[in-house]
Subunit: 228 residues, 2 copies
DNA sequence: GCGCACTGTTGACGAGTTGCCAGGAGTGAC
DNA sequence: GTCACTCCTGGCAACTCGTCAACAGTGCGC
């Protein structure tokens, strides 16, 4: 576009080139979706040939995984240096810091939660799962329930489910503008506390009833939901 | 595969052919992901040529949209004939019926929530949004808050956020097995009630404070979260 | 200063996919 | 029978990705 027509071949250190390509990929995958971004686009953005991108990352999918991996890191500072007060305040601080991070990295966060489940790609599932696990640890730390052993799996699963709400609520806030940051703060804080303090004990008491107790007296199963 | 080698050309009514193709597409899209299913696969499954599939639906994307549209319909029966009792029981019944539907259409539901945000495809967003709107109406109906006018948008947004939790919890139940159906019943029911009865009033009182009130006394904003 | 090995980088090929269109082939009307 | 209608197909063009032999910077020995 400018006068400076760059040399046909510009030889770089592998690390530098790799970072350059990764940056281009991050930008494009953040702006558009996986399917609409081609390796040619990324290569052009990075000023490189398609083949080199494949050479460095082994293919489109693996490059994408690399970008996702980089996007999903949950800053450890979110749950660092929490005061030894009650769970309420600790969670409130944690949530506030988290919203701060989300607000700053708005578009990155959106595309990260947007891809979520691009398919039944086991690799992506694993990455998202790892990220969720880390986030779950942060929350458990905040509510001071890291030492729960009885029903620990259920507790963690509940918090992962809560992070689903977190993502949806973030969309409402950042994309649709139907909720404010303050709304999210109140909603997420209260919901987490409600889950761990009220719902979780109810589940533990309920352990020997894996099926739901009959929700109503005259609730007979009426069938005609189309199976397909 | 069998002895019966079907006629090279079998002429059908457009509606019948359309339904046949749609069925094949539903099966394949339900089993695998969008990217890994090709029009050739669908055409073969339907015993038809690729071109005919495109002819009927205009292309892969539009066929996919059609399948999604069909998958996301929320059965109206979920919130039909609810007893005029308290909100708790009505929600409990509603949730139980919903879990029943999900359990029956397991794989379809999973792939439906799996695609969720396959990209920034505005069509898919619109479809998913419509489905969420309908689901929100069902919930509001169940908790008898259809006539709320003050903060109605916030209320609906909260319920949409809750449906994010619902989807994540469904994955925990159906895919990972970390939560039982009974767990979901308890969790979803209580969370909805908590949201509309406790959190929502708190948001309404909070309307003139769009930013979160300081979560703690000595909570000063400390900056160093990496921007990228 | 010159040539050589090392390796970053490229162009091109093959296999796969989708969208599109002219034309072949059922099917019912007369 | 044959004719029109339209369902349906084969094939072409364009695009995508993965792969590989070959080209060309870069630093080293001499």
């Amino acid at each position: 576009m400018g006068v400076q027509r760059q040399a046909r071949r510009r030889r770089m250190e592998p690390d530098a080139r790799r970072a350059e390509i990764l940056g281009a990929a991050r930008g494009l995958f953040g702006a558009r979706s996986y399917g609409t971004v081609s390796l040619a686009d990324i290569a052009a953005e990075a000023g490189v040939t398609r083949a080199l991108v494949s050479h460095y990352f082994g293919g489109k999918r693996q490059l994408y995984l690399e970008v996702v991996r980089q996007m999903m890191v949950v800053p450890a500072s979110v749950s660092a240096r929490l005061p030894p007060t009650g769970a309420e305040e600790r969670v409130a601080i944690c949530v506030d810091r988290w919203l701060e991070v989300v607000e700053r990295n708005r578009e990155m966060w959106l595309s990260a939660i947007g891809l979520e489940a691009l398919g039944d790609d086991p690799e992506i599932d694993r990455i998202m799962l790892e990220a969720d696990e880390i986030a779950t640890d942060r929350i458990l730390e905040a509510v001071m329930m890291t030492d729960v052993t009885d029903g620990r799996q259920k507790l963690r699963a509940m918090i992962r489910a809560h992070s689903g709400m977190l993502k949806a609520a973030s969309r409402e806030w950042l994309v649709r503008g139907t909720l404010s940051r303050g709304d999210l703060h109140v909603m997420l804080t209260r919901t987490v506390l409600h889950l761990v303090h009220t719902v979780f004990p109810a589940l533990r008491d309920d352990r020997e009833h894996p099926r739901a107790p009959a929700p109503g007296p005259a609730q007979e199963r009426e069938g005609p939901y189309p199976d397909s």
